[in-house]
Symmetry: D2
Amino acid sequence: MKALVYRAPEQIEVAEVPKPRIEKPTDAIVRVTTAAICGSDLHIYHGALFGAEGLILGHEFAGVVEEIGSAVEGFTIGQRVFVEAGLRCLVCEACKRQLPLCPNGGIFGTATPWGTLQGGQAEFVRVPFAQRIMHPIADHLADEDVILLTDNMVTGYCAAEWGNIQPGDTVVVYGCGVVGLCAQVAARLFGAGRIFAVDRLPYRLEMAKKVGSIPIDASSEDPPTRVRQETGLFGAPVVIEAVGARATLEMAFQSVRPGGTVSVVGVFTEDATLPMTMFSLFNVTIRTGLATGQCLPRLLAMVENGELDLKFVFSHSLPLSEGARAYRLFDKREEEALKVLLKP
Amino acid sequence: MKALVYRAPEQIEVAEVPKPRIEKPTDAIVRVTTAAICGSDLHIYHGALFGAEGLILGHEFAGVVEEIGSAVEGFTIGQRVFVEAGLRCLVCEACKRQLPLCPNGGIFGTATPWGTLQGGQAEFVRVPFAQRIMHPIADHLADEDVILLTDNMVTGYCAAEWGNIQPGDTVVVYGCGVVGLCAQVAARLFGAGRIFAVDRLPYRLEMAKKVGSIPIDASSEDPPTRVRQETGLFGAPVVIEAVGARATLEMAFQSVRPGGTVSVVGVFTEDATLPMTMFSLFNVTIRTGLATGQCLPRLLAMVENGELDLKFVFSHSLPLSEGARAYRLFDKREEEALKVLLKP
Amino acid sequence: MKALVYRAPEQIEVAEVPKPRIEKPTDAIVRVTTAAICGSDLHIYHGALFGAEGLILGHEFAGVVEEIGSAVEGFTIGQRVFVEAGLRCLVCEACKRQLPLCPNGGIFGTATPWGTLQGGQAEFVRVPFAQRIMHPIADHLADEDVILLTDNMVTGYCAAEWGNIQPGDTVVVYGCGVVGLCAQVAARLFGAGRIFAVDRLPYRLEMAKKVGSIPIDASSEDPPTRVRQETGLFGAPVVIEAVGARATLEMAFQSVRPGGTVSVVGVFTEDATLPMTMFSLFNVTIRTGLATGQCLPRLLAMVENGELDLKFVFSHSLPLSEGARAYRLFDKREEEALKVLLKP
Amino acid sequence: MKALVYRAPEQIEVAEVPKPRIEKPTDAIVRVTTAAICGSDLHIYHGALFGAEGLILGHEFAGVVEEIGSAVEGFTIGQRVFVEAGLRCLVCEACKRQLPLCPNGGIFGTATPWGTLQGGQAEFVRVPFAQRIMHPIADHLADEDVILLTDNMVTGYCAAEWGNIQPGDTVVVYGCGVVGLCAQVAARLFGAGRIFAVDRLPYRLEMAKKVGSIPIDASSEDPPTRVRQETGLFGAPVVIEAVGARATLEMAFQSVRPGGTVSVVGVFTEDATLPMTMFSLFNVTIRTGLATGQCLPRLLAMVENGELDLKFVFSHSLPLSEGARAYRLFDKREEEALKVLLKP
């Protein structure tokens, strides 16, 4: 089959690789109809993941059930599904204690010391623990309606939930990429009052306006200064970092009010300074980490009954064969790229 | 009256100053019978507080009601009381929104841009909002039974509460000063399993053992390494920083398990590095700040009915006239100093 | 001065009574410009309160500061204010332990074994602890903009908050009186999905539709049956009782799904049956009680910046001299009465 | 094989029945070495469960893995295990939304409209979803060390957790059966101060004293009256009902203080009166339901490292062949029966 394979930093290619097969009775094989590129894929693309050579990329995908293991109940061949980006076995010691680092789990399209889990930017993908992480797509929905539920919207929802938003709260979101936009949409779901959205790219700030946020252009003003002006000098009760960079996180810390929360969902490749001289007097809560999927059924129900429409984020839809170009334009933010889809 | 006054870095003296008087109907005057030196007093002692010249030090004290404003009900002249270290007006815009930085509030023995609130290491002290922050001392209790409720034990309790300790949880406490020891006692109240207590001073580690903690001597082993060995390599679910130093906070970050909480109650004069490359994958919660006093009635009830005895921490009791010596030995940790009392 | 005085069940009259005066330095006197009748006033009107003879009614009012005690800071004579319906001293043993039954507190227009607190359906009213419970009215707002913040909207907000509403949740509200309508508005603030509103009066169901709820007419269908049909037979995750009657509470219990919450803010004069044969298997949380005022600054900010407009509930505005007629039409629900104002 | 089978109310017998076999790849077969009788088994014994004729009783058991389905990983034939009393599929619509009533789940030894799940008071038992609900028993532990973790101690822990116990809180537990005693032990783990334990049987009150509770003999004094005397008339902040009877629940309601919580873990066959005339003014939270198993790994760790020893509750250990007698003496509370074990 065809798959998008990582070779070396910024070198990826569509290659012919063996089609995956059922390895355990809890597996399924899915024929991918739509995959998407995530900001965290770019970390691998740039060479940040040790041992990634030969890896099939991608953890956001939807498709059709091709084959089912003997222990997977409730699914039929040919059924349309989307798949959660990550998986946990639920039965190992780590999972029983609700810790990450499940040795039987992982994220599609990544490699860890425990093993490699091939990704979904391919014609087919093997899905372990399929019964748990595959979700049927209702007939009236397209792949595009649900593909953000594999990762980005779940992450945006966690960002808002961790922020402990109360009705009317001012919320500041650093980053107007897809996760940042999803966090803004989610903040609204939690009853936020004003939402300030920070970015440097005009087309992304334009998107933020479309979802009802007030844009702050970091290329022309200092975001923390603006936030303090808008909030009686105290800062905002909830600040979300959805970029994954030292500079934006440090601005987030300068934007939160005493007693407030900074919710960090960006994935980082650098550390940051924690302003303890300020925070040891200011009662701040910081929450970090990867999204957990408890909110997925709730979000899926909202999509199914028309209360949540996220399709505005798709800027490009390209054939899988153009995967290398897709990564390049997403990475360089060319052509006003926001969310880029790949169609195998 | 006599009072312990700050002159310059490491220069303090007992001086004759005017006796305070009622300024507002909500004030009271307290004749101090016991005051205590807090670790955060040392920041002022070392010159960290701008504009402190002439300040009467001290925010931990107990005494006898000397005079009462016309709007203070329920107290009588001669009644024994202890007083909370800090106060808030409850009615300004900041207080109504439950933010710090109340312009009418403050901490005894500190100066802010809004004004100075003279401290209690003196013969007398003016207590604003007296009805709210003065607490009667039961007849069967000594000043020593309750003086830690002015600050240190309240802080230790907050440290444990912010950690979200669940029964059986392993807890690591960085620091075996009085706040660190109080945090260890409080962690036990919340049902902690093993409590590891980190310090470098043998006599303080000895105290930690007395309250049931397992000592880790940071001068002879690496605390995060030891914590990981003891916790199946994951780290501890709850880590408390009760020192207020960059080095210990960074060790705290290395000691917490994924999904865990770092509770920071030390007061800092330096910033620290937040290991986002690790924490952006590890779902950690960090909580910082000054203690809030909601737990005080609960702690006082435990002291009153004999369930909580904190008197083991007092190492020295000196006359107020020896205040300068008291600060010096507490600062230098001479004579196995732990909690030092001053008797006006 | 003139005041609306309770004499006997369903016998109230506007009478000449002594004008109140400052009794303590923490008091203020307010000249009432607008008062409102609350559903709980009707309990007194019907004779449910022992010892109410001679009581001035009313706990919802706004007005102008007429006189200020010596310990009340930050207010000026002539300033427009509204006043919280209830008060607590914050310093007695009950308040320090955050219990109700403060012997120095109470609710305006009620009598308790500890004493009587005269109400605000009068030309003037004495306001104890004035600094804490009086709130300035911004110049651009009318009394009508804020008078629901004295009680009804605070209660509606608590009803929604206690329900632990998560984004997209289906919410059922029993009762479309003012508190029920406020609870529906509040549920929307917390991100509710569909909101079902139950009542028997067509004009109240019409109001529920205006705030975006789906009406259920209890006179023509069985509400729990309808709720189960709409929720896949499980019932709703959040059910609010805003009536205060046995029949509606028991329907609320039949409408909640396993794992859900029933939030009860109605004031009851009869007990109800708790269906333990069902609930002991179904993991339900029930919350009851009177609203607490923590949300008030948040709600006031939303009103001030135009995010919350509750004026649609006012059906009548009558002079205080017609107080008896006002109670009668509110009690009998004549003339499509919803919220009735009295203007002294 | 031999199994204890329900025939009719109070008629049970040890009968020869077919040995169970693997039906799905996720099943295991366990050879039972120890089973226990639970208070809720008595409901079935008395005929409360429709369609129970022919049912093998029992949901508390430990044993040895006899056979393993092809999708069950991490267990070996001959391994010692205990099994959670109930199970959920985790993948149906109910489970994905975290609702009870999973059509693929159930409780061992019960029958529902969806089907029957044979129990463990037998020589062998089929365990569905074995990988999720079977737990290895450490070599240094006996069956008796862990068998309460199948149900009773998990229930007692939930009772305490739902009560939201804060350090020093007075807790009242209605019932000194095994669940009541477990709740008392758990309340201590959460930092409770005084724990009052209510029962009518002297030997059970004696057991309560052994775990550090203060006994209240309901046959000689009125428990709510006593509780109010002990708590300054306010009542207790946390009250646990561990009996499952109308009378004790109504006493529990009279024992809780305003602002407190009543946690109900008894299984009921009758409804009760909810005192809304009191509770609508008193801000009470009531929580009901069946225990959820999240605390199990935490409790197991405490048992494994010697911090939790529950073996004091075992009053009888009888061969399975004497099952009928065992039920009778447990039901009649003869011979000071507390927890009765059956050994196949």
